[in-house]
Structure formats: structure tokens, C-alpha cells
Subunit: 457 residues, 2 copies
């Protein structure tokens, strides 16, 4: 088909939208390692997990074989409110770069939560509602996930208790207000509503909290309150499953125009966006039907793929959650204050970790100041103010497009633009004022936290 | 065509997008009255206007006869970055209201400026660039217009000087930062960069500024700096022309599905969104080809249509701009602190004023607390956090839909959802805290400011 016919934005019609999520694990020769009980060291059973998570989500979590899960009609209806997200041909960026590369991005920011997180939030809230639960609990740091979950729960009439890291609660009052618009209760963590919160407050009276502590509070409330379960926005296999909607829509849109990407790029924190974007493409690669270069982009301040270790580790700093086998910097690793809050996680999705370990994908790390520079460049030519997280992917895509300029290769690049930066303007302000730095952990720091990895067989 | 086939969101393809703006004035039997010179009281000539505005925009401003203006290819390309905006069938809202009415809204918030203002900003910046100018100046209060203009200028490489009312500059640092991302210079007004600014600062050292003062500063800089002109985001005829893209897209989308609205609703401050949304529908009405109920919704705190007078008045509180014949509360009218900043204007588009005067449209005023209540209800079922301005239209649409429920009539309602509320969360917070009120001016207050209208034959 003629190149000229590709529009700036490709929207699928409702008929073209995916009706099933794709479970990448079904096509993996080496499956991701199971979650282990922190108490016994044995694989977590469905029964153990169901104390914390919704029953149907546990089934999704443990299922390494079923390739497609039908998306329930109610979720598909919700998706229609803000999906399909546009697949954008970055004509303006290409022109600015004077590159022969063809650049596409899948933009997930056109919803009030401002990111792709809503794709899994509605699924998790739906299964909680279906199970007859009264509500769900969760934690949020920067606030994207908490906002997304609040929207999903507000829509379904489900109670939503969000534990928000206290410093974010105070510094990001707007995120907090959006959650309240959607009817969520938002509690600054640590709080006196839980045992763990009270204990930490007694020990560190002035603490502004941490994600690890907020997770522990949310889990405690879920486990001890009848009719409640805990939900999580990244890392888990079930989240990768729900987020496959990103890649499936992208592939349908590209296939319509006969376009096949050479390189697929996504930012990687816990891996939910990257895992979703690459899912159907990686499936083809695993089945030997096609080949793609797949690149994970992480911040140099928190480089779990590029400088971490593939090992069992705790998912939370509080060490109460199950152990996952993943690329990790150690659960005691404290990343420097990086404004891409969504990428400040010491570990990585077990699915993506296994794929990276087996050589199916690459990873690069980039510096924060370079990220903000390219974010601003992108905003001016493509009109979208990107989230700092998403801008990691932009930078890698721009770098690949520049290589094409040097070599003259007309490669097709697809990257994930996970969200908008409307709630990240404090970071943009710091960038404008020259107060932003790129702090990279020393080898010693990483070695120190890796030395504390739990001993598993 | 079967009702069932209407999708949640209708997107036009690039081929279907309008190629010309529609000039409503061409079909008006009684044309809007001309702008008058504040110095001589005579109609402003093109030559006089060209000292302030770009030449081609002056031509558009004064042309009451040409029905269609071709949209230059460069502007159409820019439109493709964020248009077509979706026409949404509000299935979820209809279900919640249990109304037989069919509700559609045209959503203009899916761009980084967060509102419809970008439609005219790119047009005005384009003509400035085409004229070989170096830059443009403008004022901004709440910040939507300043952001939109910054985006357009950033894209075209045009210098952009924004005078931002000082209290907004300080209270809305995020709006300010977005403008900086796009390369604009943002000056808190009053400033020491202009004569009028220095004069006001000397007189009122602690002042936090006003829109009237910011306009005066922006105009002064434009008039006195070679290669610069002043641009404005509402009220003017040229702005109505550019914003007709909203209504044209809406009509093409509805026509595709054989849908004809019975009622068309828009919020009205200066009138740019309402004028744009209704343009092609009002055209049919003026030509006697169809009939529509058209409703302008204004805040009870600033009720220019419903309690103002149709008379010549200054557009700015500084009384330096031309006189326009419009519905006005008097240029000295000070609306109470209402959070729908975009609707706090004492006057109204001369085009819309004439149409209202001639009985072609209706107007209602609504209370702020009711507006925020419906905004929150809308956010929960439709997933979009609306701007306070836009929520005035939501309230009127919901009220009409409730009437349909009572009467059983299956009316089709179209309203304009002009933007998102991401930068209005201070107002939402006040609403949640119970600190919001609906202050309505007394008859005496309005009479007092109307008594100061300029004497024009």
C-alpha cells in the first residue's frame, strides 16, 4: 500500500477492537518462574493468593498455558469510553529529525488517568465486583495507578481505598483531588489506620512514607477487611495480560496498512506498558513467525535490566509480598530522587525478565536530563506533553532514528507513549531552572543491595 | 440507520475532515454591528486594525459576506495532530439518567492545551508567520489561551510573549511551565516592561493584576515592537470563523449516521466555543433549511446574555480596545471569584449577540455549585474530568435530558465539551471541602456598571 495513505492517526473502529487479551506466557518455551511464599519458600498456591487477590485474577496470574482470555463485555464497553487509543505516525518528528526512519507511537494518555494504567484497573475492578466484593485497596506513589483505579471503581460503584505515599499526598494535591472526584478514599501513608502504619509512625514520627510501606498498609487492610482484596498496577502476570490490549490494537492498526515494525521500544519500570505493547509481536517472535528488535528503556538511576541480577527477590521493600524471580537491584535498593516516579522500582516483571534472560529483547538505560530534553523537543513538534516515564521511550526511538539518518536505513520504529505529563510539571519546572541532575548509582551501591537478596535454593 | 450502530465515539477520517471554515455572518440577515474606534466613534478601518492585528486576520474580521474560507494546508496538517476531535455518544450518561434522550458531545480536550482554543491559536499564529512577523503578544488569565498560543507558536517557530495575570502566574505555576515547554516567554502582569504596567505598579504597588491590564500590556508591546502583532482567543469574528471547525466536524459525523440534533448546547464566555459548535447548524436555521433549539449557558455570576444589555461597549476593562456592539454587563462589571475563569467576561461575541437579539437562540444561567456537582457525576460515568467552563453545558444538557425523561420525548441533544479540568483542581478541591459558593450579582450591581456604558448614538 502506498506510504502516502497512512494518516497522522490511526483509530480502529469498534468492530476492529480486540475481543480477547493475549497471554504471552502461552508461547514462552521457558515459563516465568512461580511466585514463592516468603514464609515457606514454596510456590504460592491459588488458595494462598486468593486471600490477597480476587479469585479470577489469581487464575489469570497462574495460567501459563491459555493463549487468549476473552475480554468481558462490560470491560469492552468501558474500553470504548477511551479506547482505541490512537496509533500516531510521527510525521512532524520525522521531519524535524530529517530521518528516513518511519516512526509510530501508540498514545495511551487520552484518558483522565493520563496513562495506560486504566487498562488493567478496569479489569481488576471488574473481577472484584463480579466476585461480589465490596471494595479494593491499593497503594500509589506518583498517582497514575491510584487515579486509574479510582476511575474504574467509581464507574462500577466499588469502594476504593488508596494508600498514597505521604510526600506525594502533600506534594501532589491535584492527583489526590482527581481520585476524590471519582469517589476514592485517599489516606496518606504511613497512617494510623493499620498496624504497620502505626508501628512505622511510632518508630519514625516525621517520616514522609515510602511505596513499600504503602503497599504493606494496603495489603494489611485488604487481608483483614471482609469483602476487600488488594490490587496492583504492574509487575504481575495478570497486569501484562490486560495490558496486551495496547500491543494488540497497535498490531491490528499496523497490519491494516501493511506496516511491519523493525524496532519496538517501551519504557520499563515494573514492565506493564512494555509487556503490553510488545505482547503480540513477541508472540510471533517466540513462535518463529517474525523477528523484531525489542528494546526496554530504563532510567540510569534505576537500571534493573542493565545492571541488576536475575534472581528471586521481594517485590516490596517491606518484604511481606511473595518472592518473584526477576531482574532486580535488590529490594533494599533506594533509587535517587528521579522524577519518572513510575520507573523507580527495584525489580521487573517476571515475564519480561525471563524473556530478557533468554535473549528475546534488549535493554538500554538513559539519563534523566537527556530524557527531559527530548520530551520538550517532542512536545513542540508532536503537540503532546509527554510523561517523564514515556519520554524514556521517546529518547531511545529518537536515537534509533538518528542512527537511520547516518546509515540511510528506512527502518520502521514503534514506541509506546504511555501517558501525559500534566501532573509532572514540578519536574519540568526543575528542568527549566537547571535544577535537574542525573544521578547514577555506583557499582558499590548496587552490590550492597544485591548482597541482601533472599537465599532461595 | 439502526440506532445500535452508533459507536461510542465517532472519529472522522482525514478525508472527511473539513477543508474550509464556515463564516456564519454570510448567512445573517442582520449582520453584526461593526467595531468602533474608541477615539472617533467611527467604524474601525482595516488600516486601523492592521496596526494591532495581522493583515489577513483583519480581512477575516471584516468580511461579512464570504461563506467559506479555505483552511490553508499547513493549518490542516497541524489540525491532524489533534483533530478530528471525537464526537461521543454519551451512552453511560444516558443510562445513568434513565432518559429516552440521545446525548452527544463534541470533546475538544484531547490536546495538551486542554481546550478548543488551539483551533484558533494555530490559525492566528499561521497568518502571523505568513506575514513574515517575528512574533505575537497576548494575555492569558486562567491559561488555556496562553497555552494554546504557545503550542502553535512553538510549532511554527514564532516568538510568543504572554502576559499572564499576576495572581494566576503565581497560583497556576503548572500552566506557566507548560507555556515554557513550548518556548513562550511568560510575564506576570502588571510588569515593568510596559508603560501601562509601570503606571499601574506605581499606583497600586501590591496589585495582583487583572485581565484588562494584561490586555493593555500585550497590545502596547505589539503596537510598539516592529514585527509583532496582538492576538486574541475569543469574542472576535475571526475566532468564531476558526472555531467553526468544531461544528463542521460535528455535523459531518452526525450526518454520517443520519442523526439530526434537536437541541444544541454550549457554554458561553466570549462565545468562541459556542459560536464554533453551532455555526453550520445555525447556518441551516438562518437559511430556513432546518430548525434547532440552540442554548447558550452562562454562569449566574456573569450573566451577560440573560441580564445584560445589547449595546456598544469596550471589550476590555482598560477601555483601550475598540467598542463592540454586544450583550454586556458593562466593562466595569467585576464578576465574583468564579472558578470557570473562561466564562468571566462582561461581554459576548457580537455575532452571537446579534443572533440572540434576533431570536435565533436562547440563553440560560446556572449556579456554580450545581455545575461542579454535575461535573463530578459526568466524570464518574463518562470518564472525562471536565473543565468547569464545559460543565456549564453538561448541566444544561442533563437538565434537558431530565425533561425528556418526564415527557418521554426521545430528543437528540448535542453539547460542546470544550476542555479538561486537569488545571482546575484547586476549584474541585474547594468544591469537595464545601468552600464553594454561587454568588449572583444584585440588580443594583448590574445597573451600576451598565450606567457607565459609553455613549454611542
Amino acid at each position: 500500500m502506498s506510504e502516502k495513505k497512512i494518516p497522522y492517526k490511526i483509530y480502529l473502529s469498534e468492530d476492529e477492537m480486540p475481543r480477547a487479551w493475549y497471554n504471552l506466557r502461552a508461547d514462552m518455551k521457558v515459563k516465568p518462574a512461580p511466585l514463592l511464599s516468603p514464609a515457606t519458600g514454596a510456590p504460592m498456591t491459588a488458595q494462598e493468593l486468593e486471600g490477597v487477590f480476587c479469585t479470577e485474577l489469581v487464575a489469570q496470574e497462574l495460567d501459563n498455558d491459555t493463549a487468549f482470555f476473552a475480554i468481558p463485555q462490560e470491560i469492552r464497553d468501558f474500553y470504548k469510553m477511551y479506547r482505541p487509543s490512537p496509533l500516531v505516525r510521527a510525521y512532524c518528528l520525522e521531519e524535524q529529525l530529517q530521518t528516513p526512519a518511519k516512526i509510530y507511537y501508540k498514545f495511551e494518555g487520552n484518558n483522565t488517568s493520563g496513562s495506560h494504567k486504566l487498562n488493567s484497573a478496569i479489569a481488576q475492578a471488574y473481577y472484584a465486583k463480579k466476585q461480589g466484593l465490596q471494595g479494593v485497596t491499593t497503594e500509589t506513589g506518583a498517582g497514575q495507578w491510584g487515579t486509574a483505579l479510582s476511575m474504574a471503581c467509581g464507574y462500577l460503584g466499588l469502594d476504593c481505598k488508596v494508600y498514597m505515599v505521604k510526600c506525594s499526598y502533600e506534594q501532589k494535591p491535584f492527583r489526590r483531588e482527581v481520585m476524590k472526584v471519582y469517589g476514592a478514599s485517599v489516606t496518606p501513608s504511613p497512617s494510623d489506620t493499620t498496624n504497620v502504619g502505626r508501628k512505622i509512625l511510632a518508630e519514625f514520627p516525621g517520616t514522609t512514607g515510602s511505596l513499600g510501606c504503602a503497599i504493606s498498609e494496603a495489603v494489611e487492610v485488604a487481608v483483614n477487611t471482609p469483602g476487600y482484596r488488594y490490587v496492583l498496577g504492574s509487575v504481575l502476570n495478570q497486569v501484562m495480560l490486560h495490558q496486551s490490549i495496547i500491543g494488540l490494537e497497535s498490531k491490528i492498526a499496523l497490519d491494516k496498512y501493511g506496516v511491519k515494525p523493525d524496532i519496538i521500544i517501551g519504557c520499563a519500570g515494573g514492565g506493564s506498558n512494555l509487556g503490553g505493547l510488545i505482547a503480540p509481536f513477541m508472540g510471533e517472535k517466540l513462535r518463529g513467525e517474525a523477528d523484531y528488535r525489542i528494546i526496554a528503556v530504563e532510567p540510569a538511576s534505576c537500571p534493573s535490566f542493565t545492571r541488576g541480577k536475575f534472581a528471586y527477590d521481594f517485590c516490596d521493600t517491606g518484604m511481606v509480598c511473595p518472592l518473584a524471580k526477576m531482574y532486580t537491584l535488590g529490594s533494599s535498593f533506594m533509587p535517587s530522587a528521579d522524577h519518572a516516579g513510575g520507573l523507580r522500582f527495584h525489580g521487573m516483571s517476571p515475564v519480561l525478565s525471563q524473556l530478557y534472560h533468554d535473549g528475546y529483547m534488549e535493554a538500554v538505560s538513559v539519563n534523566q536530563t537527556d530524557v527531559f530534553q527530548v520530551a520538550e523537543q517532542f512536545a513542540r513538534v508532536e503537540g503532546i506533553l509527554p510523561a517523564p516515564e514515556s519520554s524514556h521511550a521517546i529518547l531511545a526511538a529518537v536515537n534509533e532514528a538518528k542512527k537511520c539518518k547516518e546509515t540511510g536505513e528506512e527502518k520502521t520504529i514503534l514506541f509506546g507513549l504511555t501517558g501525559t505529563g500534566y501532573f509532572d510539571l514540578v519536574a519540568y519546572e526543575r528542568f527549566h531552572n537547571g535544577g535537574m541532575s542525573s544521578i547514577i548509582p555506583t557499582d558499590e551501591e548496587i552490590a550492597r543491595s544485591l548482597a541482601q537478596l533472599p537465599q532461595v535454593d
